[in-house]
């Protein structure tokens, strides 16, 4: 059901709340103590919590608002929950970050930018119009450019930010060109209308392919798929750890949400039975999913192989996140609802394990002042609990039971086998085995090697508690994953399209 503009406002309450709190958080810099980090942080947290309440209210809603610009459906709802959880966790992490203390006067801006990025991500997950897509993508991008260069005293952060801007500008330029081509071909910017135009046919095949590839470049940059990934390691290494963690989850998930929606609404033949098998007449003889399959293979293989040589843990996690984008793309290649729900499940796992890993990296950087994998030597003896936590997260990232990462991978492979993409599944599992080596390398340093110093370094109660909150679901959801599976299955419904 389409809604009038006035009615539509009711459906973007979470986004509105977040926007209000964006301003409020910014305003905290004029009231209260200037150097305090707590006031803006709590303000931002409050914003997330209130927005969260409204998001929870929207559960099960399936509406198209603002004349088809924006969809509020179970699919975007799923991602909104992920963004909210990620945002809240990142704010909590940020409160403990030492790196950020260097920029103590600018906390208000920092937290408000986290909110603005989240707003952008919300819109990305729901955008059903090419223009809306582009605008929300830019909102996320611009927020992340500033965030990644936030500690501007550090030279590598400046470098990161600049690289990010240049790559970002270039890819969004490509994307915009692709959008304009699509508009020129079909006269439509709405994805649904676009779908119908394509169904009628009579459109130049080669041009539309070029347009799709150009748009894919913009999206590929957001999800850091090879060959659009070159910014990722530098930005992830240069940006403050909290920002890196945030980008690696929220920005990437938003990119994937948009990718999935763009292709599923725009290019799948809704009339075909089963829906999943549908590919347009116009693409006959050319399986455009093969492009995605190739991207996926390249992404995970290059991500994993390059990660093998990394000595800086942030850089390693950057390459690992590239590899994970590759795994997630595998689910997309199937184009089936099964594959989509597997992707969604993987995001839950990815949120838990990746944020957990970055959290530990931040804690270690705080107390041991290092990001070097060599310096993790003997961490298992000096800070046993932190090392244990990191081990859990790393095994989850590898996908070994009893961690939730295993279930995530399991369903991705299941989707591939289901649709007979056996070769891709084999590439995927071999990549998992490769990835074990570098994840295990960290565990090896922590446990198999003796530290040069043996003094114990412990962390306070709050830190341990937060860590436990991340460990427990990582294991518990493996032992009982049906709620997540049910949620993911029900969330692949997009407005009007099952």
């Amino acid at each position: 059901m389409s809604q009038t503009i006035y009615q539509s406002f009711g459906y973007i309450l979470p986004e509105t709340i977040l926007s209000v709190f964006f301003v409020l958080t910014l305003l905290t810099s004029i009231v209260g103590k200037r150097r305090s980090k707590y006031l803006p942080a709590y303000m931002a947290l409050l914003g997330f919590v209130i927005a969260g309440i409204f998001v929870l209210n929207q559960m099960g809603t399936d509406e198209l608002v603002f004349s088809g610009m924006y969809a509020v459906d179970p699919f975007s709802w799923f991602f909104k929950v992920i963004f909210l959880v990620a945002g809240i966790l990142i704010i909590l992490f940020s409160l403990q970050s030492r790196e950020l203390e260097a920029t103590a006067t600018k906390y208000a801006e920092y937290f408000s930018l986290i909110i603005s990025l989240t707003i952008g991500a919300f819109f990305m997950a729901g955008a059903t119009n090419l223009l809306m897509m582009y605008l929300s993508l830019e909102l996320v991008s611009i927020s992340s450019y500033i965030l990644s260069g936030f500690t501007k005293e550090s030279a590598r952060a400046d470098e990161a930010s600049l690289k990010y801007v240049i790559y970002g500008a270039f890819s969004s330029g490509l994307m915009l060109y692709g959008i304009s081509l699509l508009y020129g071909l079909t006269g439509e910017t709405n994805l649904y209308a676009f779908n119908q135009t394509l169904a009628i046919g009579g459109i130049q095949r080669i041009t539309i392919l070029i347009a799709v590839v150009l748009i894919l470049a913009g999206l590929g940059y957001k999800i850091s798929a090879v060959p659009f990934h070159f910014w990722t390691p530098d930005v992830y290494e240069g940006a403050p750890i909290t920002v890196t963690a945030f980008l690696s989850v929220t920005s990437k998930a938003a990119g994937f949400a948009m990718l999935m929606r763009f292709f599923k609404i725009g290019f799948i033949d809704v009339g075909a039975q089963p829906v999943v098998a549908g590919m347009w007449e116009i693409f006959k003889g050319f399986r455009w999913t093969d492009i995605i399959a190739a991207l996926s293979v390249l992404t995970m293989t290059i991500g994993n192989l390059v990660a093998l040589w990394q000595t800086n843990i942030k850089r390693l996690l950057a390459y690992s996140s590239i590899a994970h984008a590759g795994y997630i793309l595998m689910g997309f290649v199937t184009l089936s609802n099964f594959g989509m729900s597997a992707m969604l499940m993987y995001f839950v796992a990815y949120l838990l394990m990746n944020l957990g890993a970055f959290y530990v990296v931040m804690l270690v950087a705080n107390k041991y002042h290092t990001e070097n994998i060599e310096d993790y030597k003997g961490l298992g003896y000096r800070s046993p609990y932190v090392a244990f936590a990191l081990t859990v997260f790393l095994f989850s990232l590898t996908g070994i039971p009893p961690t939730f990462g295993f279930i995530g991978k399991f369903y991705l492979f299941a989707a591939l086998i289901h649709t007979n993409y056996i070769w891709l599944a084999i590439v995927g599992v071999i990549n998992s085995v490769i990835s074990l080596y570098y994840y295990l390398n960290i565990a090896r340093n922590m446990y198999l090697r003796q530290p040069s110093e043996t003094s114990r370094i412990s962390f306070d109660f709050g830190t341990n508690l937060l860590m436990t909150l991340l460990i427990v679901p990582n294991i518990l959801l493996m032992l009982y994953f049906s709620p997540v599976l049910a949620w993911a299955q029900n969330s692949v419904t997009m407005f009007g399209i099952r």
């Binding site: 089936s336 609802n337 729900s341 039971p401 086998i417 289901h418 998992s432 198999l448 029900n490």
Partner: protein
């Protein structure tokens, strides 16, 4: 469900007792190493008690394998039950445990070896808490593999074992432990993921009627995989003797072969066994290797009988290569532990040869050999552990004449060595005899060539015996003390089993007979009959 204790089934107890022990160990404050050892020992003794109870209550006339009513001590509850949306179908994973004559020996073996392993771990003096916690986790993983009848559950147990093993080798191992640990992990994970893919293939190819709703649903139930009628005709693994079924069989084979290990997937074994601490070598050789051959018998053979018949001959040849190659490598070693590691490869080849024969003698011999080799190798590694603890070297040429210095030790070692050689009256004689007998019927020439292995084994074992125990005792070993009481606690039960099974093998052959007969019959019939129909 009459076999319960405190309302929980025997198999759950035997599987999760170690986890319970692990939790207790983790709660003990650091420094109380003795308490941790005793908890670990207590957990494994209780596990042994349950194993004995299961053995006593086991009904040897029931067959099992692919017959749900033939399994005993069954526990079955829904673990994951999701009535999904239409296109997704009903997702079910069962918590399904049960044993038959094939798993019974393995369950007993695991319980014995785990117990012996704790005693052998008594001297661990570094980070005991972590050690015993991981050890007990490993124990649960091993036991779980042998009692799980749901493939998802099987896979989870199979993988859970890897983590503790990595750390146990990597932290408490010898000088090249890092390399050995990562090599072990990478090899086995590569094998596991292949098993995972086959499991998924089977999942989507098989559908059964949901007993509650009457709808068709996919399942991970191993017994359902074994019924060819359950395969959807147009699914990936449907039909018989198809290309994809062969591929799946080979993928499964590689997955399990890495664990056995079958040549050419064996290179992780010498490294892992040599670098691991004594107790872990005992576990590796005693139990972990058997998982591979158990996987063949439990999963590969009955689910892919068509492919099995097709590949029986190559399997037997690989068995032959294992036997001879392992023995030749063992002969060339001067490192005591490495020699025994290679002898494991050789002896597991006998198992492979026996089961590839696919007749009652061969399969029974193979399974018995799995058990016997577990016990004998455990003894051999303990023997090495004893001497290494005292002399801190494993170079056989550095020893000599220990027979006069350590008479009890020499006695123990002689029993272990002669058992490994296959001397009549000791356990391995029976199992090797049966394996070769079976193989001779199916693959005459392979069996004949393989029997070279018996001579080679006698060669390297006697050579080692001579180098270490006979001749002149070097002066520097004059002070070596004989085996202690604690070490004897580990040796005596193993020795008793070796002798008992040598004289009276039917106590173990009898309970497994019905199951293995059924397995052979089923695989032969399903494989050949349906192949003919095709």
């Amino acid at each position: 469900m009459q076999y319960q204790f405190l309302g929980i089934g025997f198999l759950t107890w035997i599987t999760f007792l170690p986890i319970l022990g692990m939790v207790v160990v983790l709660l003990i404050p650091r420094g109380n190493a003795n308490a941790m050892k005793w908890i670990a020992l207590g957990a494994t003794i209780l596990q042994l008690v349950f194993a004995v109870l299961i053995w006593i209550n086991f009904n040897p006339s029931l067959s099992g394998i692919n017959d749900p009513s033939g399994f005993q001590f069954i526990e079955k509850t829904r673990w994951i039950d999701l009535q999904g949306v239409g296109w997704f179908g009903h997702v079910v994973v069962d918590y399904f445990l049960g044993i038959d004559g094939l798993s019974l020996p393995m369950v007993i073996l695991t319980a014995i070896i785990s117990f012996v392993g704790v005693i052998a771990s008594w001297n661990i003096n570094k980070a005991q808490k972590g050690y015993f916690a991981l050890y007990l986790l490993l124990d649960t993983g091993m036991m779980g593999v042998f009692v799980a009848l749901d493939m998802f559950l099987f896979y989870v147990f199979w993988e859970i074992m890897l983590l503790p093993m990595y750390f146990l080798i990597g932290i408490w191992g010898g000088p090249r432990r890092e390399y050995a640990a990562i090599k072990f992990f990478l090899y086995t994970l590569l094998g596991s993921v292949l098993i995972l893919l086959v499991m998924l293939g089977l999942y989507f190819s098989v559908s059964v009627k949901d007993p509650t709703t009457g709808q068709m649903m996919h399942t991970f139930n191993l017994l359902d995989f074994m019924n060819p009628k359950n395969f959807d005709p147009h699914s990936l693994l449907g039909g018989l003797g198809t290309y994809w079924r062969d591929v799946a069989f080979i993928a499964l084979f590689i997955g399990f072969a890495i664990k056995v290990p079958v040549f050419p997937f064996h290179t992780w074994l010498p490294d892992a066994h040599v670098e691991a601490p004594t107790a872990i070598s005992v576990i590796l050789a005693g139990v972990l290797l058997k998982m591979g051959t158990y996987g063949f018998l439990r999963i590969s053979f009955p689910i892919f009988p068509d492919a099995m018949l097709k590949f029986a001959f190559p399997l037997a040849v690989l068995g032959f290569i294992n036997i001879v190659y392992g023995a030749l490598c063992a002969m060339a070693q001067t490192d005591f532990k490495k020699m025994i590691a290679y002898s494991s490869i050789s002896h597991m080849g006998v198992v492979l040869l026996g089961i590839a024969a696919l007749n009652t003698q061969g399969v029974a011999g193979g399974v018995l050999q799995m058990f016997n080799h577990g016990i004998v190798t455990a003894m051999l590694f303990l023997v090495v552990g004893v001497i290494y603890d005292r002399a801190h070297t494993r170079d056989m040429s550095a020893f000599g004449g220990l027979a006069t210095q350590m008479p009890i030790y020499t006695g123990v070692m002689t029993v272990a060595f002669f058992a490994a050689i296959g001397l009549p009256g000791l356990s391995e004689f029976v199992s090797e005899l049966l394996s070769y007998l079976g193989a001779f019927q199916s693959f005459q020439w392979v069996a004949i060539f393989s029997s070279i292995g018996i001579v080679l084994t006698a060669g390297y074992m006697l050579l080692a015996l001579q180098r270490v125990f006979l001749g002149q005792l070097p002066d520097k070993w004059k002070g070596l003390p004989d085996v202690t009481g604690r070490e004897l606690v580990a040796f005596v039960p193993l020795m008793a089993i070796v002798i008992l099974l040598g004289i009276f093998p039917s106590i173990l052959l009898h309970p497994m007979n019905a199951s293995l007969n059924h397995l052979v019959e089923f695989v032969q019939k399903a494989g050949s009959g349906l192949m003919a129909a095709k």
